[in-house]
């Protein structure tokens, strides 16, 4: 094994102190000279025709600088299917549709002005569930598609389908099979920092947008298109990402509020900021989709899985964001978690008048794994096989290619199962009942990027200054997950400098090279690989120059050393031979000769070397760039085939619960999470990722749900939308990181940002079943549901 200097060691986060001290600048803190405050008027009707908008009162309020509607601004179409508009002209299709907006000199005036806008609607009966939407003769949410062609149903025209093997034959060979329908609720990402942006035009009509985004470069493309819709052909958007207070997927698309801010800034000629309040964030930002998943799978008499059929129905809401592509990730567990020969997968997305949805951590995987791993336990029960044994028996193995065409390079599923079984004391506790129980669930996820766009690449620039500092320009986004710590470590390790000498620049499309976005657990994998390429180039440049500069400089050092140490006899060194390209090394910021004598004067401080290279005739400054595009494929989603990621991660979580049979409360007694990570780069950061994900997973399992009534969100605040606090995490958590170095991973590492929340809910549901014999198939598992099921059980 390689001996690392910084990788795998505890290092402090470069962004930590400023964040802890309140010095980091979030979008909330940013101000531009002359900045105005924007505010949006939302429809408050789920489905209606706009008859008239009266903005006259709002316009007359002192301090109001602009009132815009779809009537007095250019049309900007947005969204994955371009079925959404920045401002709505004829119809509103969801409760949160944007019908007007105001820019004013302060937020209170803007709010008052928005209240003074009067809109007349002709209300239509809406559709609030996929089942209703699929009924014959259901009203059409969209009468036409984005190209103006008439639509005939409410099905979103994106197909996700997979068939492999022979389902019928698989079914016939099954001795046991279980069918179940599982559902998941709308949940909100609950970022600490709410959404917001600032838009500012310069006099050349180019735009700068400070945006809370995870995809600065795709956003640039979207915004430039909007500029062109506004008549600003060939104008450019520079996207700058301020410090982010969490994103969890909310930054994976561009948002109506951003386009509205742009329109307001252009109309007024002032910088304009729109910042969502917590209530606005809850009610008017896109949450995670709700889903209904039907699974039928079966095994033979030995417990070998022989077929699996998965059908997904997703409530897309009124418009389509990137988040609609959840099934692209759902296909992974559906086809490739455990070895199953005959698989059918189909996902349908349906328009309704509910809030439209977007990405959230895990991106479809928590939903599908919830269904799959619950169903697998039910199958084990049916077949009379211990559910751990069933999982082990069907374990994926390194080197296999799954039915979806995923090439499994390294695979730690078996190890993770074994870890959990041991740590949760499975054999002692499983099936012992009496209101206490244990459960487990596993997962597969992408760990080497995820090509869902034509490029899955990531660029980096490393720039050296006269003092041996390294400036890093990278398009990935630090949103709290610790990307900058990983980048710092990777650069320090790969280049041979100390972490204190590494400075990560703010993410800015004007200075950083292209990156597709920080999603799909790809940040570390991409940044790491790009760093390795760039650092290698930079070292080569340094070593090339060193052949000439190094001997000269160390000879000067030797002179000084001799003056200080009279009588010193230096060892004989033939610099012609020693100072060759392949003989150099950089360690801790010093250039030296590999395997040379340990004389202090032979260590040349990098800054001194760089100055020597710089300050001479035809001097040079050193930078290096690299563009890493991983060896993965853009799958054909209609066929459900393609190696979407360069590598994959597996993992298992085990949990012990106690169920209060009189109150229905589920108490988690302990939890163990065994995750395959390739290689631990930053142990504290990794733990933070998993702890945080577990809290989110527990929220998904037990507490979180946006409740709606006719498309309106009833609990748009933390008073009634409950996420776990530290008090809900009051049990021992045992983390186990399985390190099997992956050939594609930087230093062997794989991505691990999302997996921590993927199997938590089914592990808890399985433990509840073990404790009290009640199977909940509908998230979240509230005490009411548990109690209701317990009562049913009693009556039986």
């Amino acid at each position: 094994m390689t001996d690392f200097r910084f990788i795998g060691k505890r290092i402090s986060r470069p962004d930590g102190p400023d964040k802890a001290a309140g010095k980091a600048h979030y979008i909330h803190d940013l101000k531009r000279p002359g900045m105005l405050f924007g505010k949006i008027k939302f429809s408050q009707h789920a489905f209606a025709r706009i008859k008239h908008i009266d903005t006259s009162k709002a316009e007359r309020i002192p301090g109001v600088k602009a009132v815009i509607t779809a009537q007095n601004t250019p049309e900007i179409r947005i969204g994955f299917l371009r079925d959404n508009f920045a401002l709505k002209k004829e119809k509103v299709r969801q409760y949160r549709d944007e019908v007007a907006a105001v820019a004013a000199i302060d937020p209170d005036i803007a709010e008052e002005a928005v209240e003074q806008i009067r809109v007349e609607y002709e209300i239509q009966p809406g559709i609030f569930s996929p089942d209703e939407a699929l009924q014959k003769g259901a009203p059409l949410i969209h009468e036409n598609d984005s190209r103006g062609r008439a639509r005939t149903d409410n099905i979103v025209p994106i197909k996700f389908h997979h068939e492999s093997g022979d389902l019928g034959a698989g079914r016939r060979s099954a001795k046991y099979m279980v069918e179940g329908e599982y559902s998941t609720p709308l949940v909100q990402q609950s970022c600490m920092g709410t959404a917001g942006c600032i838009a500012e035009f310069d006099m050349n009509r180019n735009l700068t947008l400070w945006a809370k985004t995870q995809i600065p470069f795709l956003a640039q493309r979207d915004f430039n298109r909007a500029l062109s819709d506004m008549g600003l052909q060939d104008k450019n958007t520079r996207v700058i990402v301020p410090t982010l207070g969490g994103a969890f997927g909310t930054g994976l698309d561009t948002h109506t509020y951003e386009y509205i801010t742009i329109l307001l800034a252009f109309r007024t000629g002032h910088p304009v900021k729109i910042l969502y309040s917590r209530e606005e964030e809850f009610a008017y930002l896109s949450p995670r989709q709700s889903s209904q998943i039907r699974i039928l799978q079966g095994c033979d008499s030995n417990g070998k899985l022989v077929f699996r059929k998965v059908e997904v129905l997703q409530d897309n809401g009124a418009y389509t964001s990137w988040g609609a592509t959840y099934p692209s990730v759902m296909m992974l567990p559906a086809t490739s978690l455990y070895r199953v020969p005959n698989v059918f997968f189909d996902a349908r997305l349906v328009y309704t008048n509910n809030t439209y949805c977007q990405a959230m951590r895990g991106y479809g995987n928590p939903e599908l794994t919830w269904a799959l791993e619950s169903n697998l336990d039910e199958l084990a029960e049916e077949a009379g096989i211990d559910s751990y044994e069933l999982r082990r028996l069907n374990c994926n193995l390194p080197g296999e290619t799954t039915p979806m065409g995923l090439k499994i390079s390294t695979c730690g599923l078996k190890e993770s199962l074994e870890s959990v079984v041991k740590k949760i004391e499975w054999k002692k506790k499983h099936k012992k009942g009496k209101n206490r129980g244990v459960g487990m669930a596993s997962l597969i996820h992408v760990g080497g990027g995820a090509r869902i766009y034509k490029s899955d690449a990531s660029g980096i620039i490393l720039k050296l200054d006269d003092f041996g500092n390294v400036y890093v320009y990278h398009g990935g986004v630090e949103m709290g997950q610790g990307l900058h710590a990983v980048l710092t470590t990777a650069v320090a390790e790969a280049l041979g400098v100390r972490p204190e000498k590494v400075f990560i620049n703010p993410t800015d499309t004007g200075t950083c090279p292209w990156d597709v976005g920080t999603h799909a657990s790809r940040g570390t994998f991409m940044a790491g690989n790009a760093t390795l390429l760039a650092a290698d180039k930079l070292r080569t440049k340094i070593f090339e120059l060193a052949t000439d500069v190094y001997p000269r400089e160390v000879k000067k050092s030797l002179e000084k050393y001799r003056k200080k140490n009279p009588g010193y006899q230096p060892p004989e060194i033939d610099f012609k031979k020693a100072a060759r390209l392949e003989n150099f090394d950089i360690k801790d910021g010093y250039l030296s000769i590999k395997d040379g004598p340990a004389e202090p004067w032979l260590n040349l401080e990098l800054g001194r070397f760089l100055r020597a290279v710089h300050f001479r005739s035809q001097g040079q400054m050193l930078t290096a760039e690299a563009f890493y595009d991983p060896p993965n494929e853009l799958p054909d989603f209609e066929k459900g085939y393609g190696n979407i990621s360069a590598t994959y991660v597996y993992g298992t979580q085990g949990v012990e619960v106690e169920v209060d049979t009189e109150t229905g409360e589920v108490k988690i007694l302990r939890l163990t999470a065994a995750h395959e990570v390739g290689k631990v780069l930053n142990p504290e950061g990794l733990k933070g990722q998993i702890y945080g994900a577990l809290a989110q997973g527990i929220g998904y399992a037990l507490y979180e749900e946006l409740k709606t009534e006719k498309g309106r969100i009833l609990n748009p605040n933390f008073k009634d939308y409950k996420i776990p606090t530290i008090q809900e995490m009051d049990f021992p958590i045992d983390l186990d990181f399985i390190e099997i170095a992956d050939e594609f991973g930087p230093f062997g590492a794989k991505g691990i940002a999302e997996p921590g929340l993927v199997p938590t809910a089914p592990a808890i549901a399985n433990a509840i079943y073990d404790a009290v014999g009640v199977r909940i198939r509908d998230l979240p598992i509230t005490p009411e549901k548990v109690l209701a099921e317990l009562k049913k059980l009693e009556r039986r």
Binding site: D108, E111, E279, E662, T663, G664, E665, Y703, K707, L714, N715, K719, D720, K722, I723, P724, T725, Q727, E728, T782, P783, E784, L787
Partner: protein
């Protein structure tokens, strides 16, 4: 949020005068209920009159009976060394209010005057049979807490009155109490809650006081249950009866926090568990 004026009177008289003078003005204590209502657009007062600078409103005095100033914060209840012994139930309830940040500003008076059926302190003070002292420009008046709450958000106070103090008689040494609260998560407004106080003489219950939260329009005394228990030797069978009676004697609604059915269930279970806990039966 609408703009409003803010006043910081230095005496009760000044506060009451201001209140009389300014139409649509409100008293503000810690603001943890009021500001939420203002920000949510439910209330649009023209002025807030803070009770913060009025002397003596935020002190606790114990000599024989206990006097707690209306402006006493929840944190001050928790950290008062004597209150823990003299009115443990109140301190137990105080510990379950909100977060440390909320407890540092939220006041006893606010908890009562806000008149929420889920108010934790209200519940324990009901069971402790507290009296509320109410001051207006025309004089002072003491009201038993039982008569204080009228409907959600509405107390017996008229707009020109201030709640100044709470009085509690110390409990006898053979009194024990519990406060049980069910939230969706630990830090939450009660989905349902129970405060229970028993004065025991050997096996026999001499006095029982029971109140339940979030199960009626106001914090509710469960007098039927009290009558059931008083004068009786307490047994698990009686506790089962009390459970059923508690479930049946409340009038909850279904809302975003919980269903009617679930609230009935919890109140019953908590009455039973409260009895078991006090009598040291272990879990029943």
């Amino acid at each position: 949020m609408k703009r409003f004026d803010y006043f910081l009177p230095q005496s009760l008289e000044e506060a009451l005068e201001l209140k009389k003078k300014i139409p649509n003005s409100r008293f503000i204590a810690g603001g943890t209920d009021l500001m939420v209502q203002i920000r949510g657009g439910e209330l649009k007062p023209s002025a807030l009159i803070s009770l913060r600078s009025i002397p003596d409103l935020s002190s606790i005095e114990i000599n024989g009976s206990i006097r707690i100033g209306a402006m006493t914060t929840v944190t001050d209840l928790i950290y008062n060394p004597d209150l823990e012994h003299q009115a443990k139930l109140l301190v137990d309830a105080a510990r379950r209010v909100g977060s440390p940040q909320i407890r540092n500003v939220a006041t006893v008076g606010g908890n009562l005057c806000n008149c929420s059926p889920c108010a934790d302190l209200a519940l324990s003070l009901l069971v402790l049979e507290a009296k509320a002292r109410i001051q207006s420009l025309s004089g002072t008046q003491d009201v038993p807490l039982q008569k204080f709450f009228e409907s959600p958000g509405k107390s017996c106070l008229s707009p020109d009155q201030i709640l100044t103090d709470i009085f509690i008689e110390p409990v006898s040494s053979n009194t024990k109490s519990v406060f049980l609260k069910k939230g969706r998560v630990k830090m939450d407004l009660a989905v349902a809650s129970v405060a229970l106080l028993l004065e025991m003489e050997g096996e026999i219950c001499r006095k029982a006081r029971v109140a339940a939260g979030s199960v009626a329009p106001v914090p509710l005394r469960l007098q039927k249950v009290e009558v059931l228990l008083e004068g009786q030797a307490l047994s698990p069978e009686l506790a089962d009866l009390a459970q059923r009676m508690a479930s049946e004697s409340v009038a909850p609604i279904s809302d975003i926090r919980g269903t009617e059915e679930y609230r009935r269930q919890i109140v019953g279970v908590y009455v039973k568990r409260g009895l078991a806990q006090i009598l040291g039966w272990g879990l029943v």
